[in-house]
Amino acid sequence: MPKRLASSLSYEVLEHVFSFIQSDKDRNVVSAVCKSWYEIERWCRRKIFVGNCYAVSPKMVIRRFPQVRSIELKGKPHFADFNLVPDGWGGYVLPWITEMAGAYPWLDEIRLKRMVVTDESLELIAKSFKDFKVLVLASCEGFSTDGLAAIAASCKNLRELDLRESEVDDTSVHWLSHFPETYTSMVSLNISCLGSGEVSFSALERLVSRCPNLRSLKLNRAVPLDKTANILRLAPRLVEFSACTYSAELRSDVFSNLAGAFSNCKELRSLSGFWDVVPDYLPAIYSVCSRLTSLNLSYATILSPDLIKLVSHCPSLQRLLVLDYIEDSGLEALASNCKDLQELRVFPSDPFDAEPNASLTEQGLVAVSLGCPKLQSVLYFCRRMSNAALVTIAQSHPNLNRFRLCIIEPNTADYLTGEPLDVGFGAIVEHCKDLIRLSLSGLLTDCVFEYIGKYAKKLEMLSVAFAGDSDLGLHHVLSGCESLRKLEIRDCPFGDKALLTNAAKLETMQSLWMSSCSVSFEACKLLSQKMPRLNVEVIDERGPPDSRPENCTVDKLYIYRSVAGPRFDMPPFVWTKDEDLGLRL
């Protein structure tokens, strides 16, 4: 009988089968098959990813998944990276840690991005999770070296401590010395964001020398060259390393010591850092270049000729981050040398100057596009672009999955024809059928959004600035992009109509950010009422939005779906339709 067949697979068998299913999407599908599969799956799910910490409450997560070992949380919206989210908006991790401390004694991995982490949270982590192994704080803030000291002192089995791009307050505590002498388990340490006062070299050297499994080490700017060589010699099995400050003059003893240290590191595949590097020292790394797959030179102010020399030593390069000093000529060299290149990011060295200080144009990107067949991910800052170049890129790279172009001056037209760049970006979405992330820039009309709505069916994240003519633009995107999860918009003439017409779409997305657009507070209230499972947050530091004339537009709008209802930690400048004001702190 069919019914008996369904339940004849025992719990143990199913659990074993499910253990091979790692991706969240697949797990979610599995849990929707039937009630018994839902039950089995929820008991054996070990890893949780929460893309928006306010979309669900910790209690709800714990209730459904009682035996989680690893959690990843993201807090503030992406535009917080560019100072568009005022301080104090939210993203506090303490409530999560507090709940999980009781419910998940075996939690061993916490990964956070854009969240506010306090020393209290870190101390709670140190105290509550006996087998804690992995702590990643990406672009976080709110904690100091005191909190790090607590982690160092208590987490005997810590394998990974990664503070990438976080802001850490220096309380002059030598927190590294808090790792006991018996502690030997470090595998990955990233402290590149720390200031010069926050790391003691001797403690660092002692730590490195007693951790034989150390494979990734990213130090901060303040470690001088001779120390760098010492540390490398202590950890010859490093796979990833972030190099440090280079002294001004070439000293041959320091150079040969460094070159020797690098040549010992046979497993080194990824290099970054290079702050203040002097080109004369670059040959010290030539011995490892042929094996390098990832190179981050985006803090190095070395010029094109030296960059070309370096890059020509790295034929296995898959990932390159660099400043626009590389220039078109450098990118051409890259295109001819690095056929395995998958990801390219070019950042501007002088973004606030009206004139370019390096000869980098769209030609460089075209060269890489034509020369590197495996190119999938692009982030490119430049000052001019043409539809022709974009079409060339699109046609030569149908396998692009991330394309983020930032033409520094808003509303810059095609420099050859004076036209908007609609056709160029249209070609990108038409040809690159697997595109999941797109950032637009330059002069763009509603047309580009029509193309995006029509072709970008797999697009998950779209960033738009200074583009479009009317609500129609927003409407095309919301009605056409089936896979859209995150949409962030600034300074575009999009307003109430498109938003209200596509209200239902917003529940299928993770979040929508709109700042300096044309949405009225009335529309926000209406949307809020129509869609109870959306949190509609109006972020406005000018005062209560309804104290202004009715047609006044809101400053910033952040809409996200949530099963947790309105949040309890909203600051005074976040306005919602909240009727029960007793909940507001």
């Binding site: 990276d81 560019f82 100072n83 568009l84 672009s139 791009e165 702050w275 203040d276 803090y299 950042f347 501007p348 060295s349 002088d350 973004p351 606030f352 009206a354 004139e355 370019p356 200080n357 390096a358 000869s359 980098l360 144009t361 000052r383 930032c406 520094i408 001056e409 808003p410 420099y415 950032s439 960033s463 600035a465 200074f466 600034r490 300074d491 575009c492 003439p493 307003g495 300096s516 657009c517 044309s518 009225s520 009335e522 209230k525 530091e541 000018r542 005062g543 209560p544 309804d546 202004r548 004339p549 047609n551 006044c552 537009t553 400053d555 005074p572 400048f573 339709k577 009727e579 004001l581």
Partner: protein
């Protein structure tokens, strides 16, 4: 509806650029303000022929370029007129989209580098970019020329007091404190680095006018 939203909270108003109330023009207005402050026309670099704007410079007893009418397309020369009132860039919050982490890193380098140096911008006709150099770093004209040659991939001609530069299409010129464009090399080095506000490597026909003055 408004009645259900009591205004008990008085939030601290942070200094804010108040965009216009007219919601349909909101984007246009902010862009217009932005564009005006940026003085886009002046800074727009083109590789094709420029528009009809022209500059004429005063002639002094030192060798100056009679006419800075720029035919080669780099509109940088237009700045001559506007140097007295440097365009104030209305810095748009969060644009270009660069993380604070990276911005701070760039800025510390800038301030470290620019204290104590004599930085001037260098442009070359036909090159779509500028460089900044620190004049203090060079001991005299030969070093300066070598650096410029490396930077812009050209050769400076042979200098003579009577004829200016011979043997090269490219001529190094500078703008002095009076706003005049002068030939590099006429005055002693110390005097030059104190007077020089910016450098321009002129090409072709403009250079022919040199030596005829006075």
């Amino acid at each position: 509806l408004i009645a259900t939203f009591p205004n008990i909270y008085i939030s601290t108003t942070v200094q804010y650029i108040d965009l216009s109330i007219n919601q349909s023009a909101i984007n246009l207005q902010s862009i217009m303000v932005f564009e005006k402050d940026l003085n886009l026309d002046a800074t727009e670099l083109r590789l094709g022929l420029p528009g009809s704007s022209e500059e004429s410079l005063r002639i002094s007893n030192k060798r100056a370029l009679p006419d800075m009418n720029d035919d080669s397309g780099v509109a940088v020369a237009k700045k001559c007129d506007q140097e007295t009132a440097p365009p104030t860039k209305a810095q748009v919050v969060g644009w270009p989209p660069i993380r604070s982490y990276r911005k701070n890193s760039l800025q510390t380098k800038k301030t470290e580098a620019e204290t104590g140096g004599m930085y001037v911008k260098v442009s070359m006709d036909g090159a779509p970019y500028l460089r900044k150099i620190d004049l203090k770093v060079y001991k005299g004209y030969p070093e300066l020329f070598k650096a410029l040659e490396d930077m812009f991939k050209f050769k400076v001609g042979k200098y003579s007091e009577r004829e200016g530069y011979n043997g090269s299409e490219f001529v190094p010129t500078y703008e002095d404190k009076d706003g005049d464009w002068m030939l590099v090399g006429d005055v002693p080095w110390e005097m030059f680095i104190n007077a020089c506000k910016r450098l321009r490597i002129v090409r072709g026909s403009e250079a022919r006018g040199l030596g005829c003055v006075v």
